[in-house]
């Protein structure tokens, strides 16, 4: 988290707000916590599960992403991802393991998810598991930035600019520093800010990067990654190793960057149609930019 200006009290208020948001989203939407609300939904075997407004929002965000991408981003990949071996926090996933027999088959489909906002319930059919993964992380970034900005402004008595970055998903709130927020766009969110990649500046909204090079694991001779194509139920076979998108919110940027990975060669046209600035990197490092995203300096 970055805060533009303010005293230590402002920073502390913003930090506390971010931590509260992260704790809340983890308790609601974590696939790896047996006590999360999402785990209860996935275990409910078709029964309506009472959940918090936060999980309702997270599921609705995921369903919106599915609608807008014609199902290329789909929260019903949960069971497939688990069977592929990504069944716990990634730091605990064994990098190697015995071979898996993989069968291409589409995932159940987001249309099966029932959200009853009035009753405060979410229902998925037996055998269907939700993975809110990337969309929940992006939602957490947006919510945390909003909460941090509000908390900081409450202490400072004036609007304060904040940037929240969660695993590569960035949301900004409030007035940006002069020249904007400088962000390094690269393959791995754990890279240092002075590492390889492109330096860009954003002033509002969100920025998300999806890629296939970081969360990877091996089962037998097959290399797997975490971005599953709902049409096949298998890790996306894509021409892009990394796609970064800027949008009015981190959620929108994340929906588009994830969809672009799965869309493959069709991604630039799809992003252009949605007027979303983006940077797409092929496996050989070739960079394509669309909708006003600045070209790399070296290109």
């Amino acid at each position: 988290m970055l805060v533009d200006g303010g005293d230590p009290g402002v920073l502390e208020a913003a930090r506390a707000a971010v931590e509260a948001e992260l704790a809340a989203i983890d308790a609601a939407a974590s696939r790896f916590r047996p006590d999360s609300e999402l785990a209860a939904v996935n275990r409910a075997a078709g029964r309506a599960t009472p959940v918090s407004d936060l999980l309702i929002e997270a599921v609705e965000v995921a369903l919106r992403g599915a609608r807008l991408t014609d199902g290329r981003v789909d929260p019903t990949i949960g069971r497939v991802v688990r069977l592929l071996g990504y069944d716990r926090d990634f730091a605990s996933v064994a990098p190697d393991g015995p071979p898996l027999q993989l069968t291409a088959r589409s995932v159940p489909g987001w249309q099966l998810v029932q959200v009853d906002r009035a009753a405060g319930t979410v229902t998925v059919p037996p055998g269907v598991e939700l993975d809110l993964g990337s969309s929940a992380k992006a939602l957490a970034s947006d919510r945390a930035a909003r909460a941090a900005g509000d908390a900081a402004a409450g202490v400072a008595g004036a609007p304060i600019g904040v940037l929240v970055g969660l695993g590569g998903d960035i949301a900004v709130r409030g007035p940006a520093p002069v020249g904007g927020w400088d962000v390094k766009v690269t393959d791995n969110h754990a890279s240092p800010p002075d590492g390889p990649g492109q330096s860009i500046s954003i002033s509002s909204g969100g920025l998300a990067t999806s890629g296939t090079t970081v969360r990877r694991w091996q089962r037998g001779e097959i290399a797997l990654h975490h971005i599953v194509d709902p049409a096949t139920g298998l890790p996306a076979d894509t021409c892009w190793r990394t796609v970064s998108v800027a949008a009015a919110s981190c959620v929108d940027a994340n929906i588009a960057s994830t969809a672009a990975i799965i869309l493959g060669e069709a991604a630039p046209a799809w992003l252009t149609a949605h007027a979303l600035p983006a940077r797409l990197v092929r496996h050989d490092g070739t960079v394509t930019t669309v909708n006003g995203w600045p070209a790399d300096e070296e290109s």
């Binding site: 970055l2 599915a66 609608r67 807008l68 991408t69 069971r79 497939v80 069977l83 993989l102 088959r105 995932v107 159940p108 489909g109 249309q111 099966l112 998810v113 029932q114 059919p125 037996p126 055998g127 970055g165 695993g167 590569g168 998903d169 960035i170 927020w181 400088d182 962000v183 390094k184 690269t186 393959d187 791995n188 969110h189 754990a190 890279s191 002075d194 590492g195 492109q198 330096s199 860009i200 500046s201 954003i202 509002s204 909204g205 920025l207 998300a208 990067t209 890629g211 090079t213 970081v214 139920g233 990394t242 800027a246 949008a247 009015a248 929108d252 979303l276 600035p277 006003g292 995203w293």
Partner: protein, 103 residues
């Protein structure tokens, strides 16, 4: 009633029955389409779902997509569109303090 009159009456009843049946099917289709469009993402069909075993291959045990009611309206229906940022990103000054990368 002679046989010819009886046969004519039966034909009329049969035709009427077929028309009612076709009309009913058509009405059901219209209502189904209306409901599907009015509540996208909330429809369930009557598919039986195999929970399968975890030793299954990645796709086994999942509901058969062919049994899922497809095409519930336009995928964009009812969803706010993706929104670009107020200002697009510009080239940075090389003093990045944050990183956006794959995770």
């Amino acid at each position: 009633m002679n046989p010819a009159q009886r046969d004519e009456g039966l034909r009329r009843v049969s035709t009427t029955t077929r028309l009612v049946a076709v009309g009913g099917i058509g009405l059901a289709g219209v209502l189904t389409a209306y409901v599907a469009k009015a509540a996208p993402g909330r429809n369930l069909n009557g598919t039986s779902v195999s929970t399968g075993g975890d030793q299954a291959t990645s796709g086994q045990g999942l509901p058969d997509q062919s049994q899922v009611q497809p095409g519930i309206g336009n995928p964009d229906d009812g969803a706010a569109p993706l929104v670009p940022a107020d200002t697009p990103p510009v080239r940075g000054r090389g003093r990045s303090a944050a990183v956006s990368g794959g995770s």
